[in-house]
Amino acid sequence: MKDQKNRHTGKEKADFSRRDFLKLSKNIAVGAGVAGILPSMIWLEDGVAAIPVSEGYLLVDTKKCQGCMSCMLACSLVHEGEENLSLARIQVVQNSFERFPVDLTISQCRQCTEPACMEACPTGALHIDTKHGNIRTINEEECIGCMECVKACPFMPGRAIYNDKKEKALKCDLCADTPYWDEPGGPGGKQACVEVCPVGAIKFTKDVPKQKGDEGYVVNLRGRSWRRLGYPRR
């Protein structure tokens, strides 16, 4: 394989075969089309660029959630050092008057295999952090606050969020970078929302969920103990 350099970063392209890549990521990689060459891509020997998948994901059980939003409070606390629901990288939205289970939704970042937010970022601030299990994360220093990532996220509410005071975007990094929490985070460590949830309604997994809407990101975490408290398991 000839040495090639990434047009954007000038970094040497990794010398990987497609087979090696699949072995490395344990998942199907994405062949980059004409959408543009992105930083953090891995170049395969046949010239196809691939995005390594994240090595960690948050799964939620919306039917188990008690709506206390401790996950949101913990998220903004460990990342920003303040309590701020608008800066929580996981969002719980609920309606007191509505029927269970549609009275509540939990919106967590998907760590998508094809991150539209990353593709939309003009500066490379939103990148794949290979040091932390390929999480899709934002380098705050490089973020120019253009909100392209915020607009690009295909989910509602958008998982790339905006800090209007700092004029910077934020997104879930699986707690890889928590200035206000000593616990090692990222795919190999702990996540504040998982640790704090009083009922165990958020789960971390290394397995790539099905990447279709909510499918694969919503799990049933209600065991026998939940049923013993009078709640449905299904």
Partner: protein, 692 residues
């Protein structure tokens, strides 16, 4: 000022003025009730006014812990002002509701809201961060709407072009939130000035006592809505996260190792305190918690019937023919904005009047209720409407409806039956014209504190002792601890009286003692500060006896100051809180004194002295006590209190407080020692300063 927004919103409805009070001015009260009492004292020059007087000031206060990760201390709001529920006068009183209002208020940049005056037309207050508007109800047709509909209309209005479930921009800026505004509203009951009216937030977070719904109605205030996109500065974010995880690991329930299943305990798992006689519906449901709480005490259901109702909101229509009707009744009182406890015992009163054949007597106006229908949905809906609208429940004039809408004790007074019915057991309102809650002849601290204060205390700090012993006796199981063990754990935490185990001896020989005076005092101080000022929730705190903890010793005493320090940086011990609680209690008592309180007024209805309890108001009241030299749990409800001995108890209590024994009025030296000289001056100017 870590933990604070830094300013308190002041809204004068008469002048349509919106100003701010710097929180710093009142920071020495730390938050919540203490701040509210101090603000009330400063702003209400004539404390003898009636609750309906436009000069009455209502405060809604937060705590530095509101909106933070502190477990079961983040979501509650303290409400204060002169109430209209109690008899013979509406005392300066308090109420408190859960949910997320206080936190949202702080995210919007406010530590509290102070309401003064009276609007010329019905209005609501629209708070969006720093932008505050007094808006007319007419444009959204809010006046006349029930509390739920009112909230939903406001949600939609505030969302504008936005859609819930998505990010909604605020204040024409890039500031955004996914959250609905937190709205607290009155229903038709408040609009029609019913003394039974309360404030409702979300589905069933209610400031029930005091008749604040009617006070708002008298001010032409329908609702306050708040949406905030800002943050709360935390002194030690690492410490707060560590403290929360410490609490979770050592003191919270363990789902895979459940010890206790239910109750007003820190360690109890998330299960709705749904007391419908038909039990909890066996349908799809989730636990539902206030913001930041570690263990929900409410639920939402797959038919949305009875959403978030708990405790008395679920007890209210006890005799409903079906569970669905009971749940419907819970929704009705929430929608119409009615105090569940007063409605429960008010309905019992009307029912007993009918049962005893006196409802049709000549001094009682014609009752429109059809008791052949009792237990049906039609019956309860009509009853709720009668109390809410002061009519026959069908929109026609009714003197009976008007009378009960004015409060059940007040109605009995009008009918010339108050004294008689208080003492024949039909009107279970034994103190200050307020409904019974716990058996005052057994759980004496509850009744004493209610009488020495302003309202049914509704403080469950020692209530688990009774429930645990009651359940053990009924089901033949062991209590969580022996009486002696439990009393030791509890009293060891009761600084500065720690170690006096006799504080928890409910035997006949001890219930008028100075030990009991200490228990009541400590309870006043603890709740006035840690619960009502720091807003630790009454359901999940204190953490006295905890089966998950080593030696069953819960976290209270350590946890509260640990969390306060992490949020604010204040080096403020548990005892500092108790001492500040004493100061707050003295300030409140001074206000009641200015209102006309005298020791001679402080008595139960005669029935408490003359008749043993003939029924168990809250299940059998087993309490710890020493009999024949041994600690055990005993069933103490079947006794009367002794009027003279209760008078002696009051003397002991007043001595302990440093108040004048003859009048019960505060003494100057006591107030001076608490830094309340300005309060002493006002008492003196009004001729109500205690001697000595």
């Amino acid at each position: 000022m870590s933990g604070y927004a830094g300013k308190i919103l002041r809204v004068n409805l008469t002048k349509k003025e919106i100003t701010a009070i710097p929180t710093k001015k009142y920071e020495h009260w730390v938050g919540g009730h203490g701040m509210g009492s101090a603000i009330f004292f400063d702003l209400v020059k004539d404390k003898t006014i009636d609750g309906f007087n436009p000069a009455n000031v209502v405060t809604l206060m937060t705590s530095p812990l509101s909106g933070t990760l502190v477990p079961a201390a983040s979501g509650r709001t303290e409400v204060q002002g002169i109430g209209v529920q109690s008899y013979p006068i509406g005392w300066f009183t308090r109420s408190n509701f859960g949910g997320r209002f206080s936190s949202m208020l702080k995210y919007a940049g406010w530590d509290g809201v102070v309401i003064e005056g009276k609007a010329s037309r019905p209005v609501w207050i629209d708070i969006r961060n720093d932008d505050v508007k007094i808006r007319e109800c007419a444009s959204l047709s809010l006046w006349g709407k029930d509390t739920w509909e009112c909230q939903e209309i406001i949600w939609d209005y505030v969302a504008g072009e936005g859609k819930y479930g998505d990010w909604i921009k605020q204040n024409n800026s890039e500031a955004r939130t996914t959250q609905r505004p937190a709205v607290v509203a009155i229903g038709p009951a408040g609009e029609n000035l019913s003394r039974v009216a309360c404030l409702i937030h979300d589905a069933s977070s209610a400031a029930g006592q005091g008749g604040f719904g009617a006070v708002w109605g008298s001010k032409n205030l329908k609702a306050i809505s708040v949406i905030g996109t800002g943050g709360i500065k935390i002194h030690d974010p690492q410490g707060l996260m560590a403290a929360r995880l410490w609490q979770k690991k050592n003191y919270a329930f363990d789902l895979e190792n459940l010890i206790e299943r239910w109750g007003f305990q820190h360690q109890a798992p998330p299960a709705p305190i749904a007391l419908w006689r038909g039990g909890r519906p066996k349908i799809g449901q989730r636990p539902q918690a206030c913001l930041g709480c570690h263990s929900a005490c409410r639920a939402r259901y797959d038919d949305a019937l009875g959403n978030e109702a708990s405790c008395f909101a679920s007890v209210f229509y006890w005799d409903a023919k079906s569970l669905d009707i009971q749940r419907t009744a819970s929704d009705l009182i929430n929608k119409y904005g009615l105090n569940a406890v007063e409605m429960c015992f008010g309905l019992l009163y009307i029912y007993l009047l009918n049962q005893n054949g006196v409802l049709k007597s000549s001094n009682i106006p014609k009752c429109p209720l059809d008791f052949s229908n009792y237990g049906s949905e039609e019956f309860v809906e009509r009853f709720v409407k009668m109390v809410s609208y002061g009519d026959d429940g069908n929109g026609n004039k009714s003197q009976f409806g008007k009378d009960i809408s004015g409060g059940f004790v007040w109605a009995a007074e009008k009918w010339g039956r108050r004294e008689q019915d208080l003492n024949n057991g039909m009107l279970s309102f034994p103190y200050w014209g307020l409904p019974i809650h716990k058996e005052p002849r057994a759980q004496v601290y509850w009744g004493y504190a209610t009488l020495l204060g302003d309202r049914d205390i509704n403080e469950h700090d020692f209530d688990w002792l009774k429930h645990d012993a009651k359940i053990a006796a009924r089901w033949g199981r062991k209590t969580m601890a022996t009486a002696e063990e439990a009393v030791k754990i509890v009293t060891d935490k009761m600084v500065p009286y720690q170690g006096d185990m006799l504080m928890m001896d409910f035997s006949e020989k001890n219930i008028y003692s100075e030990h009991m005076a200490k228990l009541v005092s400590w309870h006043r101080y603890y709740t006035r500060f840690w619960k009502q000022s720091m807003l630790f929730c009454d359901v999940r705190w204190p953490d006295f006896l905890n089966l998950y903890a080593p030696g069953k010793i819960g976290s209270t005493g350590i946890a509260e100051p640990k969390f306060l320090k992490a949020v604010t940086g204040k080096d403020f011990s548990f005892l500092d809180g108790i001492n500040l609680g004493r100061k707050i209690w003295n300030l409140d008592h001074a206000i009641w004194t200015l209102q006309g309180r005298h020791r001679d007024m402080v008595h139960f209805a005669d029935i408490i002295y003359k008749r043993k309890a003939s029924w168990d108001v809250d299940g059998k009241a087993y309490m710890p006590g020493i009999e024949n030299g041994k600690w055990d749990y005993h069933y103490y409800a079947r006794r009367t209190l002794d009027r003279n001995k209760f008078d002696e108890f009051k003397t002991r209590f007043y001595q302990l407080q440093g108040w004048d024994e003859a009048s019960g009025w505060p003494k100057k030296k006591t107030l001076d020692s608490l830094g309340l000289s300005y309060v002493a001056s006002e008492l003196e100017a009004n001729g109500r300063l205690g001697k000595g």
